[in-house]
């Protein structure tokens, strides 16, 4: 642990334990290493039994891997959380308003705040969505806003995920596992419960209905299928919410409405919680090669006869170049200063900024504008000369495809390793649910942790793990 340069959430400056972690420290001190090792094995067995495995794209048999789970919880105080929530609500409302605006009158462009180039020729901007009015005017039913911490009171938004944010099943299963393995922890610590997430999501979806919905609305979850890396989560959520898990071929447009093919005939569907990319949603309106979607689904949507969550076209708010405009976006739609800060970002599309980036490339994190999963990025301070030369070439060739950010030192939380406890970098993904009625944020979210010493890459697709996240009651 490098004292003074990295904020450790348990030890702060290294001299004494921070209050939120005091009980945890006492607990850990009282446990024998072998017993903790055994518990870690138990946790892995539980995850395998429940089937929380992860298919890695590109690996030979699509082997099933476990996402590493660490037994030391990550703790957030109630006060810290209240502040974070205020910022999240402000941000998500602004993003939703932004989406409505750019797919209607584009006031933000007319006001000169957002250059039109950001929308033109951007593959994430769906022309098909122009003028479409989603039920309840909600685009971002579920958002995953990634947050990092660099000091006691310094939080930054790293990324907005408003297409198909995932990870909530790990959040829920991690808590379940901790409850089963260490029940004593929950009598000594008053942790805000999270188990209601699925019920609350269902409530949220059932209150964002198309006008054509009747008394008992039908909600379903559309999955690309078994070989998708997040399939477990799709099945898990459908199960927990008590809704049908469907694939494209289970749905059909019948008499101008969307219907499911059931053993009792066609049944009208009012809400589709989609977990596939917009591109594959409807071969008649988007990518014609897609066999994952439903022909004509988007026409039904356009007519206001079905809710799709999240709405098609939200990807425009998801990309890393748009991220750099978020402070302006929040300000424009809320009329307030953003409560949650953005990480300073250089847009390589702009010549001056590109020059700065090229001059300082070894200090910066370079990210692809349309990337995800931690792929296609370079972390200057730890990159090889070869990587840096590579990226330099890419930046010069297609600067508009990249942004750069300073290398922030994410906070650390201890993990349990074979040699004892050691600090590792973490981030946080809270999940924000939105309906016309209200915004609901489940306490905590998913804490992702880089399992390798010194690594800043927390993505599960690259070996990252997760922790149970606690928001303490007052």
């Amino acid at each position: 642990m490098k004292a003074g340069t990295v904020f450790d959430e348990m030890w702060a400056d290294g001299s004494s334990i921070r209050r939120p972690y005091k009980n945890i420290k006492t607990w850990l001190d009282g446990e024998e290493r072998n017993s903790l090792k055994a518990k870690r094995r138990d946790a892995n067995d539980l995850f395998r039994l429940t089937g929380i495995t992860f298919n890695v794209y590109g690996s030979e048999e699509g082997e099933e891997r476990l996402i590493p789970f660490d037994i030391v919880p990550r703790v957030i105080t109630s006060n810290e959380w209240t502040k974070i929530c205020k910022g999240l609500e402000q941000r998500v409302r602004a993003i939703n308003a932004f989406l409505y605006d750019i797919y209607h009158d584009q006031e933000i462009v007319k006001a000169g705040v957002l250059p039109l180039e950001m929308l033109k020729n951007n593959p994430a901007f769906l022309l098909q969505m122009m003028g479409v009015n989603p039920p309840g005017q909600i685009y971002t039913h579920i958002s995953g806003v990634d947050i990092i911490r660099t000091a006691e009171n310094e939080f930054y938004v790293l990324e907005d995920n408003v297409r198909t944010p995932s990870g909530v099943s790990y959040m829920l299963e991690n808590r379940e596992t901790m409850l089963q393995m260490f029940p004593e922890l929950f009598t000594k610590n008053r942790v805000q419960p999270i188990q209601n997430y699925p019920q609350e999501l269902l409530y949220s979806l059932k209150h964002t209905l198309p006008e054509t919905a009747e008394n008992k609305p039908t909600v379903c979850l559309l999955t690309p299928g078994l070989y998708n890396s997040a399939y477990f989560e799709h099945a898990f959520l459908a199960d927990q919410m008590g809704i049908e898990l469907v694939q494209g071929n289970d749905l059909k447009v019948v008499d101008g409405f969307l219907a499911m093919r059931t053993t009792q005939g066609h049944r009208k569907v009012d809400v589709v919680y989609k977990r596939l990319d917009d591109e594959f949603l409807d071969p008649l309106n988007f990518n014609e090669k897609s066999s994952l979607g439903v022909p004509g689904l988007f026409d039904v949507y356009r007519k206001g006869r079905v809710t799709i969550a999240n709405a098609p076209g939200t990807g425009i708010a998801d990309d890393k170049a748009m991220y750099s405009f978020m402070p302006e976006i929040v300000q424009f739609y809320s009329g307030e200063f953003p409560l949650l800060q953005n990480v300073p970002t250089w847009r390589c599309a702009i010549k001056d900024q590109l020059n700065y980036v090229l001059d300082n490339i070894h200090k910066l994190v370079i990210k692809q504008v349309h990337g995800s999963g931690g792929y296609g990025m370079m972390i200057g301070p730890t990159a090889t000369k070869k990587d840096i030369a590579n990226f330099r070439r890419k930046l010069i060739a297609t600067p508009q495809d990249y942004i750069a950010q300073p290398t922030l030192s994410l906070s650390t939380v201890p993990i349990f390793t074979n040699k004892g406890f050691a600090p590792r970098h973490v981030d946080l993904r809270p999940f924000v649910q939105m309906s016309p009625e209200k915004i609901n944020i489940v306490p905590g979210g998913l804490t992702r942790v880089a399992m390798s010493k010194g690594s800043l890459v927390v993505n599960s697709s690259q070996g990252g793990g997760t922790k149970d996240t606690w928001v303490l009651e007052n």
Binding site: L49, G51, A235, A238, L245, M260, R261, T263
Partner: protein, 228 residues
Amino acid sequence: MLGNTANGLFWTYRLLERAENMSRLIETGQRIALTRLNSSDKQWLYVMQTAAVSAEYKKYYKKVEKETALDWMLKHPKNNSSILSSITSARQNAKMVRHALTTDVWEAINGSFLDIQNLLKGKIRERDLSIILRTIKQSAALVRGATYGTMLRNEEYDFCRLGTFIERADNTARILDVKYYVLLPSAKAVGTSIDNVQWETILRSDRLRGFRREYGQRGPGDIAKFLF
């Protein structure tokens, strides 16, 4: 329920029954091989014929030997009806219709799959057979118990049972088919002690105790009636 869900449930249970049935056939085969003085590796051909996997076997092996026959029926990757293939497909199907199953049933199926997959890793020695077969039977019982104990008696349940019973009927019919047209040395042997011993051994693979209670110590005609 979705049509595809009905299909998935049907096949999950059908494939589980298939795996269990194969394990009982292997058990029977082993018993005949161990308890009859003049038995030979040829017995294993009859077992494979009963399971309808002998034709495929012959594509890969010239001779019928105990080792290769066992490997074929237990886990050979080219045998779609091997125990490992059946239980892997069953679990795959269950994964697809997981939301239609209770947690108990899913965990029974998944847990069984993980255990059996583990037991079938590497070379199987004959002495390992006992624990493997027992694990498979116990797993089947666990799934059956979880199904009986936690599933609602609705359409989903009906499709599960349908899968189980169609496979069972199919397998029983095969046993009868093979028994009379293959196993017996000649038509004159019908009704003799050889016939009875063979039947008894086959019944062991199925439900002997049930039979004894129902019919007592009787002949093949009753056995046939029982099986039907």
